[in-house]
């Protein structure tokens, strides 16, 4: 039941295309809307945006440029979740790969990859993200534009790879000494086959425990980076940029940043609660807790 609710919440921004009446970056600062039968300027003469109408148009009111906050919220949520999802996929694939390789082969593979992981690990995530974000936002990488959402996804993914890679490596180091792996080796299985068919399934519970955790962390880090201006670039919106944009109007129209903030917190909170449940179910003794 709870899981369905979470899924619906998570998916809401995905079908935002179908319920929004206006493009998220399109404003209508000089227009009027009807509130309770009375026409009202979207932006008042003093520049104050119209408040929540609780109707399909301008449900949460407008922002200071006459854009529909609710629509921006939906699209912003989509951006945040897409970045979170892509980053999580990167973390899961490469973290597992790095963990398997360094844990199984040790030797020179370990000697190269482990210091690299330690290096990324020893950086404060926000600083590294900001450095990469500012450098890449200007010119992009190769064919990818600087304002593409792939850039923050990629950055967040790279930063969090060691957070999965290190625990997986530990798990693989433990597993490779087990008898069933030895048996597989004696049967003549190659290293890749052993890794995929013998070790990976046994490390699966660790990977699954980390999945919601990494999703929550990716979404949060995206918010941090966007808040600081090193994540999603204008005019695109994400929850982080909406919160950041609203900050300067917090005195007059606090909803501009508090509503996206609430959405962000509720999303991450529900992912974390689900994640906690998954952890309790799969790995009751685990001490795995991360902090940003």
């Amino acid at each position: 039941m709870f899981v369905i609710l979470v899924a619906l919440c998570l998916l809401a921004p995905v079908y935002s295309h179908d319920i929004a009446h206006i493009a998220p970056n399109q404003g209508n600062p000089s227009g009027t809307i009807k509130v309770g039968g009375k026409a009202q300027n979207i932006l008042s003469l003093s520049g104050l945006p119209v408040g929540p109408t609780y109707h399909s148009r301008y449900f949460f009111g407008a922002d200071t440029e006459g854009r529909d906050l609710a629509v921006r919220l939906l699209y912003g949520g989509r951006t945040s979740l897409e970045i979170g999802a892509i980053a999580t996929i990167i973390i899961m694939v490469f973290g597992t790969l790095v963990g398997l390789l360094t844990g199984y082969f040790r030797g020179w593979v370990d000697a190269i990859l482990r210091p690299a992981m330690e290096l990324v690990w020893s950086f404060p995530v926000v600083i590294l993200g900001v450095a990469l974000g500012t450098a890449l936002a200007l010119g992009g990488i190769g064919p990818i534009h600087g304002n593409s959402i792939l850039i923050p996804s990629f950055i967040i993914g790279v930063i969090y790879i060691p957070y999965l890679g290190k625990p997986i490596r530990g798990e693989v180091l433990r597993l490779r000494e087990q008898d069933f792996v030895e048996a597989a080796r004696v049967q003549g299985m190659g290293p890749w086959r052993i890794m995929l068919t013998e070790i990976l399934p046994n490390a699966a519970s660790t990977i699954i425990v980390f999945l919601p955790l990494m999703l929550a962390y990716s979404i949060l880090l995206e918010a941090y980076l966007s808040f600081l201006g090193a994540g999603v670039q204008a005019p695109n919106a994400s929850w982080g940029t909406l919160i950041s944009d609203g900050l300067q109007y917090i005195d007059s129209t606090p909803r501009l940043s508090l509503i996206p903030g609430l959405m962000l917190v509720l999303t991450v909170l529900s992912i974390n609660v689900v994640g906690d449940g998954v952890r309790d179910a799969l790995d009751p003794r685990s001490q795995v807790r991360l902090k940003s």
């Binding site: 020893s122 200007l138 941090y224």
Partner: protein, 314 residues
């Protein structure tokens, strides 16, 4: 012991060198990023970009640029691109404000965690326990800047109990604390849940140890057993993570908190630099934070080894 310390410090130095190369590399190696173009502005023509590149030495090879930048940083001559301010001077001037933000905030969260953790361990399964669980999960779900904004809105704009933003020097302690209560609180509160829970599980582990039973059998009072034997032995892991988190504060929570509350510290300077894509302050800031993280990591290990001889060998 001396060998352990020397080895640990040496590896810290190596790590620091590696981080500086990485941060520098991020800005210099990425092909699409042309620092000369960034300084010269969007509409600059090719010759201006050339001149700027000449002036800042961007057309030299990577190692030469790296050596040059490091020389500038360590001799305190590096300037930012935007306002021609001396970056190192800026960091020196602003460090006081940052320290008066992070040190009391750190103490606040450490002490609160110790108190809450002890209470919930002594009265396992009661309300304190529930509260900590909620706090802990909120702590990993709420970004610092959002909590800061909410506090700012509720306590400064809505009710004006606290001043809305700004900073007062420590020469006037009352005003200083009055301006910093909200920032301290917004940094501290999100960490309390996690720390208290770690402490609680450590305490529950320690209570069942033999030396605690011995202390009790000696006839020591309950309070003395708890403070001297149980709590003291459970604090170690907390202190270690605290060291690292505290160092990270400089580059994470302090950055956004200072930006929200408009505190003229190192973080605010960095946040501005990020907004303007001004490289030198970001570079210095990243190295500055990495320095503290590496230093505190090394110190924590050394302290640990000092207190617990068993791990010196590894």
């Amino acid at each position: 012991m001396a060998r352990f310390v020397a080895r640990r410090l040496l590896s810290a130095l190596a790590l620091l060198f590696a981080t500086s190369v990485v941060v520098f590399g991020i800005f210099e190696v990425i092909p699409s990023y042309n620092p000369a173009r960034a300084i010269a502005g969007r509409n600059a023509n090719a010759t201006t970009v050339q001149q700027v590149a000449q002036k800042f030495g961007f057309n030299k090879p990577f190692y030469a640029q790296y050596a040059n930048t490091m020389k500038l940083i360590f001799t305190g001559q590096v300037i930012d691109y935007q306002d021609d301010l001396n970056v190192v001077d800026q960091f020196k001037q602003r460090f006081g404000a940052t320290l008066s933000l992070v040190i009391p905030a750190g103490l606040l969260w450490l002490l609160t965690s110790i108190v809450l953790g002890s209470i919930s361990a002594l009265r396992a399964g009661r309300i304190a326990d529930r509260t900590l669980m909620v706090l802990a999960i909120l702590g990993v779900s709420v970004p610092v800047f959002l909590l800061a904004e909410v506090l700012l809105y509720v306590f400064a704009f809505k009710t004006s109990i606290f001043p809305n933003t700004g900073y007062a020097g420590i020469s006037n302690p009352a005003q200083w604390a009055y301006h910093l209560v909200l920032p301290w609180f917004s940094i501290a509160v999100l960490s309390v849940g996690f720390y208290s829970r770690v402490l609680r599980s450590n305490l529950l582990d320690t209570v069942n140890q033999d030396f605690v039973r011995t202390a009790r059998a000696k006839g020591l009072s309950g309070r003395r057993v708890f403070v001297r034997h149980v709590l003291r032995n459970s604090l170690m892991p907390i202190i270690t993570i605290f060291g690292l988190d505290f160092a990270t504060l400089l580059g994470g929570a302090a950055l956004v908190t200072e930006a929200v509350f408009n505190i003229p510290g190192v973080g605010q300077y960095e946040a501005q630099a990020i907004g303007q894509l001004d490289v030198p302050p970001i570079l210095v800031g990243a190295m500055f934070t990495a320095f503290f993280v590496v230093l505190f990591g090394a110190l924590a290990d050394i302290l640990y080894a000092f207190l617990d001889p068993r791990i010196r060998l590894t």
